[in-house]
């Protein structure tokens, strides 16, 4: 039966290709004469049991066939024949055909990171030889070296053209975003994540323990088949599946300790005060007005507690009255302390973070089925006091062959995450918002910690380091027992809390019907269901313990957000090899539907009497405020197709097309089509004889378009929303005219891109590189531009923008040393991208760009992130130093003059990349991963804040007279200022430090933003790991034990602003008072049964 099977196909196809079939018939007839020739089937796998797709299997001196994506092949051979098995990235192997009709071929990889197969759009596995665009794959082994818990950090530095927009580890639950190839639109676009074919818009619930490998599709050429959502590139994640017929049990444990790695550079010479010439105050006890216990402090000195700045008296080691000495009820009441420096007070405020990550997985493969079940529990204690996170993930990846031709596959992941604590990382927050903007450098943080919860005064309020000064002539007022601006930060972390829960189910169920060898149809249902709930509590004691704060009321709020996405997908695949030609086609359709519901409610006007700390909406004094309920829904219908024709495994032609219909576009024009075409040419085929060192060489070129709707649901129709319930004036509802008008003739936008590339490998893949040039133009970008409010609206949305990006990406792999016991692998990547704004609109030559949090710049508007016509995308615009011939202009007061609205540089790097080194010696392994960036700008509000308030080291530096800048001008102090006068004459003078640094006060309105613009260049070591691996060859139970020590962010060889890590900024444009950067060390223990 077996050997006539191919015959059947050809006969049935004969009506289409009669001549061909006839030829084959003749050929087959002749083959049938040799009765010993039979069909051998088999699978090519690598040393780890993973299939080697698209391997070439050839009878020595005879015919060859190509294996499919899963390494399965079928070839005609006779007993004793020698099969030559070769593939990209593996060593060639010879296998002799025996009596059996099946052969299992195990090959060794030349380089673990250079696979011959990549996962492309829609999860289609394809041969590296055939891909006409850049794609880069990273295996789980390389991703999980340092046991990162989130994917975005794990990918940092490992992909050319990838930039991670991360966040300090102190902010639990924030996994950041990925920017690929700079900016391709006027607005910020981030990469999409696709897990086993199911789309996720962020990486928060991608469990690293379930990731088998990651493939990054960067531009339209690679992502065209994904359609409109893939505008920012796609990160394709393939999860682990069962590989072995024996049950495999893996247990993986990691414990990581995290600590503050760096802070800004502070001064430690001067303490609290806000005066140009700080003086001590002396307390004179008056029994008529002062509490009796204060007599102990009579005649002692103190400084201005109510000021939250460090322009105070010089730290001299003498005795003084600290803030807490005035208050009763603790061991230090009414006692003076030594006035001494506290260089590490900020670092010491933070706790040590602790992360424990346990994963257990069980997998097994049977003849007709396979399963893998995995459970992960991550428990984190944050660095911020009173913060924690825990997360459970249960996932399964299973399949069953219902019949020989019908396969059911189910992948499902359930995640539940809980985060507790307040992680506010913006200006004015009670922790870093104070430490980097408004603080006393001499603050003894141990005392803050010890005295947390201390209640004082007539109203039993929380004691604060920043209370109103005592008076020699007045009795202490109620305000004396309150925080002037700030509370003890430890108290704030206790009495202002936020809690959130997220549940998510992501998964798919698919049925695949293998109609015949060549043709299969797959139908899949995919879903992504997420519910997030949140609660915030502000205790009454906070409300009453502050003097100068708005909205001083206790409050409780609840929010809920639901997102439900379904996709129905039908894909047919046809794969056929006919003599010298291979033909692969995929075509199908998709229906996407999503809907979301967001709502929030909060108490209003404080709590009812007697319900002071009863946190429920029913405690609300006034009608509960409703944030509104936002409903949203969208549908997209798509049909798509792709065909690849290969000739002799060296020349490929790729064509694809996709048509989308989006419900959010104007109903008259809601469909759009975009094609792509590409080719790849494996030229090494012809050169191996002349250049034996060349193991692989490929040229590729492609052109593609990708369309997007870039519009939210309902936006196209102007609607009027009436007030409802408590939001109504009595019983009279009201509604306003919407402020945004959307062009009713809005069109979908279109990115057109071409890219060319060259991939080469030498010396049996010991050295390889891949180079890509791309050029992309986005036309008719949808711009929501501010318009003069006098028009009656404030925003108009229309198609006018155009952005052009082009760039070069390089990847380089090498195994410089490889001996029996020792090997060294190195991977290096580099990329340079230009994202140029050709056009914004006729009204405006700029448009503001929102960061991840929806803000367009810092709290005070020092900088605004913008796309400005004629410039690199992502300009920071703000006040710059006024200059004449490059020299700053200085006014008669010795202070800098400025120009408004100056582009201060783009946030995008000139170039960036990463370096990965892996060393193996016997069972030992050492890996180190670095990433780097050159250029790009960021703005630091903390820098401005801490200049203004005398916190930074430069505010108490030694000048060129050898005197402290804070010393009087008369005795050689002051900041040396050079520049020109407004009429261009040279100017050189000393300015009192207080006056000089006070010009950088955010509080008095904006200051010169340029003073806090930093170059975002850096080189950092992202992770280092040392491991010991032992494989138990003879044990029936234990298979493998791996122990490793890991370090994340261990050191930074170079950076321009040591206070912040440009790769871990809270906002696209910089930082707004963010939490300090962290470093962590951990131990990983992995055992396989």
């Amino acid at each position: 039966m077996h050997y006539i099977y191919p015959l059947k196909i050809f006969i049935n196809k004969s009506n289409m290709r009669k001549i061909l079939a006839l030829l084959v018939l003749v050929l087959l007839s002749s083959l049938m004469v040799y009765s010993q020739v039979r069909v051998i089937t088999g699978q090519v796998t690598d040393d780890k049991g993973d299939p080697v797709g698209y391997a070439t299997v050839k009878v020595k001196d005879g015919k060859g066939v190509s294996a499919d994506a899963n390494g399965n092949f079928r070839i005609e051979a006779k007993t004793g024949a020698v099969l030559l098995v070769s593939a990209l990235g593996v060593n060639q192997k010879e296998v002799t055909v025996g009596a059996a009709n099946t052969v299992a071929v195990s090959v060794t990889r030349t380089n673990s990171e250079l696979s011959g197969v990549v996962v492309s759009a829609l999860g289609i596995k394809r041969s590296v030889k055939s891909t006409p665009y850049a794609t880069q794959q990273v295996t789980s082994e390389r991703l999980s070296q340092a046991r990162e818990t989130d994917l975005t950090t794990a990918l940092s530095g490992k992909i050319a053209g990838l930039q991670t927009l991360g966040q300090s580890g102190a902010k639990l639950g924030d996994v950041g975003q990925i920017r690929l190839r700079g900016a391709g639109a006027l607005t910020e676009k981030f990469a999409l994540y696709v897990v086993d074919g199911t789309i996720l818009t962020n990486a928060a619930d991608i469990n690293m323990d379930d990731v088998e490998n990651v493939n990054v599709l960067k531009g339209p050429n690679a992502t065209a088949l994904y359609g409109q959502r893939a505008e920012g590139g796609v990160i394709i994640i393939t999860t682990k599946k069962a590989k072995s017929k024996k049950m495999t049990i893996d247990f993986n444990h990691t414990t990581t300790q995290e600590q503050i790695a760096y802070t800004q550079r502070y001064q430690n010479l001067y303490g609290s005060g806000r005066e140009a010439n700080p003086e001590w105050k002396t307390f004179t006890f008056n029994s008529a007005i002062h509490p009796a216990a204060w007599s102990a402090l009579n005649g002692k000195r103190f400084y201005g507690y109510e000021d939250d700045e460090s322009w105070g008296p010089k730290i001299d080691g003498g005795d003084f009255i600290p803030w807490y000495a005035w208050y009763a009820g603790h061991p230090y009441s009414y006692q003076t302390q030594k006035y001494v420096p506290q260089p590490d007070n900020i670092k010491n405020f933070f706790d040590k973070g602790l992360t424990i990550n346990n994963n257990l997985s069980i997998a097994q493969k049977f003849n007709k089925a396979s399963y893998r079940v995995s459970y992960t529990y991550v428990d984190r204690k944050g660095l911020m006091p009173n913060t924690k996170q825990n997360k459970h993930t249960i996932s399964t990846q299973s399949s069953v062959n219902i019949t020989k031709k019908l396969t059911l596959g189910v992948n499902a992941t359930y995640t539940r995450e809980k985060i507790f604590g307040d992680f506010d990382d913006t200006y004015g927050n009670q922790t870093t918002g104070a430490f980097n903007s408004w603080f006393h450098r001499d603050m003894d943080v141990e005392k803050l910690k010890e005295l947390q919860g201390l209640r004082v005064g007539p109203n039993n309020t929380l004691a604060s380091w920043n209370h109103v000064n005592p008076s020699n002539t007045n009795a202490p007022s109620a305000n004396f027992y309150k925080g002037n601006y700030w509370l003890n930060p430890y108290d704030y972390q206790i009495y202002n809390t936020a809690e959130s829960w997220r549940d998510r189910i992501v998964g798919d169920a698919s049925l695949t019907y293998q109609i015949n060898n060549a043709f299969k149809v797959q139908g899949a249902y995919r879903m992504n269901y997420r519910t997030t709930r949140g609660e915030r509590k502000l205790y009454a004691v906070v409300a009453k313990s502050l003097v100068f704060t708005d909205g001083k009321e206790n409050s409780y709020s609840e929010s809920e957000s639901r997102y439900y996405e379904h996709n129905l997908e039908l894909i047919g695949s046809y794969n056929k090899r006919m003599n010298d030609f291979t033909f692969d086609a995929n075509f199908g359709g998709n229906i996407l539907m999503w809907n979301s519901k967001d709502s929030s409610r909060s108490t209003n006007g404080g709590f009812l009497p007697g319900k002071e700390d009863v946190f429920a909406l029913s405690s609300s004094l006034s009608d509960v405020a409703r944030g509104g309920t936002f409903l949203s829904r969208k549908k997209v219908y798509s049909v798509f197709g792709k065909a690849t024709v290969g000739y002799k495994d060296y020349l490929y032609l790729d064509v694809s097309g996709r048509q989308d219909f989006s419900s959010v576009l104007p109903s008259a024009n809601n469909g759009y089509f975009y094609p792509s075409v590409g080719t790849s040419f494996v030229f090494s085929q012809f050169l191996t004889d002349n250049i034996p060192a060349l193991s692989f060489g490929k040229l590729r070129a492609s052109w593609a378009q990708i369309g997007t709707d870039a519009l939210g649901p309902y936006q196209i129709n102007q609607t009027y929303a009436s007030t409802i319930g408590p939001n109504t004036y009595g019983t009279t509802p009201s509604q306003g005219v919407p402020n945004n008008v959307v062009d009713p003739n809005l069109k979908p936008t279109l990115n057109s891109s071409y890219e060319v590339g060259l991939d080469m490998r030498f010396y049996k893949d010991r050295i390889g590189f891949s180079a890509t040039y791309f050029n992309e133009k986005k036309k008719n970008d949808i711009v929501s531009t501010s318009v003069s409010g006098a028009s009656g609206i404030t925003v108009k949305t229309f198609n006018v923008g155009q952005v052009r990006r082009s760039g070069v990406e390089l990847e380089f792999n090498a195994t410089p040393i490889k001996t029996r016991n020792f090997s060294w692998d190195v991977t290096f990547n580099w990329s340079k991208v230009n994202s140029f704004v050709d056009k914004v609109s006729d009204q405006q030559d700029f448009v503001t760009v929102s960061d991840r949090a929806g803000a367009t710049g810092d709290q005070f508007g020092h900088v605004t992130l913008m796309a400005i016509q004629g410039q690199q995308w992502g300009q920071l615009r703000g006040r710059a130093f006024k200059r004449i011939n490059g020299l700053p202009v200085i006014g008669t007061d010795g202070l800098f003059e400025f120009d408004q609205n100056v582009p201060l540089g783009s946030i995008l790097p000139n170039y960036n990349g990463g370096l990965f080194n892996s060393f193996k010696y016997k069972n030992w392994g050492l890996t180190a991963s670095f990433d780097y960036q050159n250029g790009g700008k960021f703005f630091s509000l903390s820098h401005i804040g801490s200049l203004n308030t005398g916190l930074l080291d430069v505010t108490a530096a030694t000048n060129d007279n050898g005197m402290n800048v804070r010393d009087p001008l008369a005795s050689g102090g002051g900041v040396h200022v050079f520049g020109v006068t407004p009429d261009g004459k040279p100017y050189d003078t000393y300015v009192a430090a207080y006056d000089y640094f006070k010009q950088f006060s955010a509080y008095e309105g904006q200051t010169i933003a340029e003073a806090a613009i930093f170059d975002a260049s850096y080189i950092k070591c992202r992770e280092i790991s040392i491991s010991y691996n032992h494989n138990f060859k003879n044990s029936r139970i234990l298979k493998r034990v791996l122990v490793s020590a890991v370090a994340r962010n261990p050191f930074r060889p170079w950076t321009t602003n040591p206070g912040f890590d440009p790769s871990e900024l809270s906002r696209s444009w910089g930082e707004n008072g963010q939490l300090p950067g962290t470093r962590s060390y951990g131990i990983n223990f992995k055992v396989s049964f």
């Binding site: 109510e306 305000n479 006034s622 829904r633 809601n670 306003g736 006098a790 028009s791």
Partner: protein, 490 residues
């Protein structure tokens, strides 16, 4: 095998068929399913929305301008009293109540006028009249703040609207008021009217009163027209706001979304208090309104915060916490926000009398005393006739027949009567030059003088460049700065 080909052919054919379309019908999928959202507006709800704005910062309760006229002072963030703000955004007016009112006017004058969401909310004439009057009110605030502003070309979705001269805007506002006042018919009054509560008579009085105020505002720039328009409004048979019962106000509610502006702003704030300028004047002149306007300090005294001093200077004030806060009656949740009051109109009448527009100059004293009484009554001041007589004959309040002297006294009384409405008080101070205010000692603006207008919104040069440049050129030589004067401010 036949099946396979059939499937392939079907899919291929379907793909081509679908791909060749430009569109697909999603039904009402892109219509917001929320029951409170609709694609067609309701004129009554738009009108309510425009009325509500009158109670807040845009109209009757500018605390920034309240700092300019030295009603208030802040010990911790005194920037408003130091004239830090130069440019001010105007989207809140144009893209707020003005656009809502414009839409009501458009709906009633287009083919949409027959839509039930329009017709059920009052006769077209009544809707148009009420909307035009309120629109004129908001526009008067806009032009008084910035001077020459987009007017004729505004609110028409033209994203580069040209500016009009204030001397052209003022007559048009007066014309609008005049026409609208005459436009009301006997049909159903405007629905959703939370200011006039459906009383056409109240709207007519408001329109006439506003016309008198605006006419008088032009008195230095164009005395002839000012007089003519004043007389026209004053003599209108429908009358003007002459008693407290006619006062035109926004009534705040206990619901925090609609509580009084001052309640929302300052109910829990310690750092804002009364300015020494205002409290000292009230105290020295034995004005009984001091008991309403301000709270006593801990020592039971009325003490103002030194006006116009820096935060560092005020450190000890903050420390002692020994200053009068804004009065409990003002920060009560239901404190009315007055658009126009009887006391304000009686003072305007007094000015017309001393200027000889109406009556005889000696009538001005009578009107002023009536205004004082109206103001005291309005605030519920408890007084004896003797106290009122004594106050009205005090050095700063006794009537005078010397025109400038009397006008200065009227200015003082307007200043006191308009509290806490900073917008109107600032406009009248600019026009009358009374009270004589000393600019902030620690002023941080370049000229260290009290602002006379707002500079245009910061983004206007970019968003509306050509029009802005033309408008800016008209402001030469000083340019678009806040110490330049508007047309009527001579």
């Amino acid at each position: 095998m036949q099946t396979k080909n059939l499937i392939a052919a079907t899919i291929a054919f379907a793909s081509i068929a679908i791909a060749s379309c430009k569109k697909t019908d999603f039904g009402d999928y892109n219509i917001n399913p929320s029951p409170v959202v609709s694609s067609f507006p309701n004129t009554a709800e738009l009108f309510t929305n425009a009325c509500i704005s009158a109670g807040y910062g845009l109209a009757t309760n500018g605390d920034e301008t309240g700092f300019y006229v030295q009603y208030f002072m802040n010990v911790n963030y005194p920037n408003n009293a130091l004239y830090q703000t130069t440019n001010l955004g105007w989207n809140g007016y144009y893209a707020g109540p003005l656009m809502d009112l414009q839409r009501i006017i458009e709906l009633n004058t287009s083919s949409d006028a027959s839509n039930p969401k329009v017709t059920s909310n009052g006769s077209a004439a009544n809707q148009l009249a009420a909307a035009r009057i309120l629109k004129a009110y908001y526009y008067s605030l806009v032009t008084d703040k910035w001077g020459n502003v987009p007017y004729k070309a505004a609110l028409k979705l033209d994203i580069n609207p040209a500016y009009d001269l204030q001397q052209n805007i003022y007559p048009d506002l007066i014309k609008e008021l005049k026409e609208a006042e005459a436009q009301f018919d006997g049909g159903t009054p405007m629905k959703g009217d939370i200011l006039g509560n459906g009383s056409i008579a109240k709207w007519k009085k408001f329109a006439n009163s506003l016309r008198m105020v605006l006419a008088m505002r032009m008195v230095k720039a164009d005395a002839t027209q000012a007089k003519a328009e004043f007389l026209s409004a004053y003599n209108d048979a429908d009358g003007y706001i002459a008693t407290n019962a006619d006062n035109f106000f926004y009534q705040p509610l206990s619901n925090l979304n609609y509580s009084s502006y001052w309640y929302l702003q300052y109910r829990n704030r310690d750092e804002v208090g009364m300015s020494s300028t205002f409290i000292d004047w009230l105290r020295v002149n034995n004005d009984k309104r001091i008991n309403i306007y301000a709270n006593r300090n801990a020592n039971n005294n009325f003490v103002g915060i030194p006006y116009g001093r820096s935060a560092s200077f005020l450190s000890n004030w903050k420390n002692s916490n020994d200053y009068s806060r804004i009065g409990a009656a003002i920060t009560a949740f239901d404190c009315k926000a007055n658009l126009i009051t009887a006391s304000q109109m009686l003072l305007t009448k007094a000015e017309a009398e001393i200027r000889g527009f109406i009556g005889t100059p000696s009538d001005a004293g009578v009107s002023m005393k009536a205004a004082i009484k109206a103001s005291w009554d309005q605030w519920g001041v408890i007084y004896t006739q003797t106290e009122l007589d004594n106050y009205a004959s005090g050095a700063n309040t006794a009537p005078s027949l010397v025109v400038n002297d009397m006008i200065a006294k009227i200015g003082l009384q307007k200043w006191v009567a308009l509290y806490p409405n900073g917008h109107e008080a600032w406009s009248e101070w600019r026009r009358l030059g009374s009270p004589a205010l000393t600019p902030a000692v620690d002023a941080i603006n370049d000229t260290r003088t009290i602002p006379r207008r707002y500079a245009y919104p910061l983004n206007e040069p970019q968003l509306n460049g050509v029009s802005y440049n033309a408008a800016n050129a008209l402001l030469a030589p000083l340019g678009d700065v806040h110490n330049n004067k508007v047309w009527w401010d001579k």
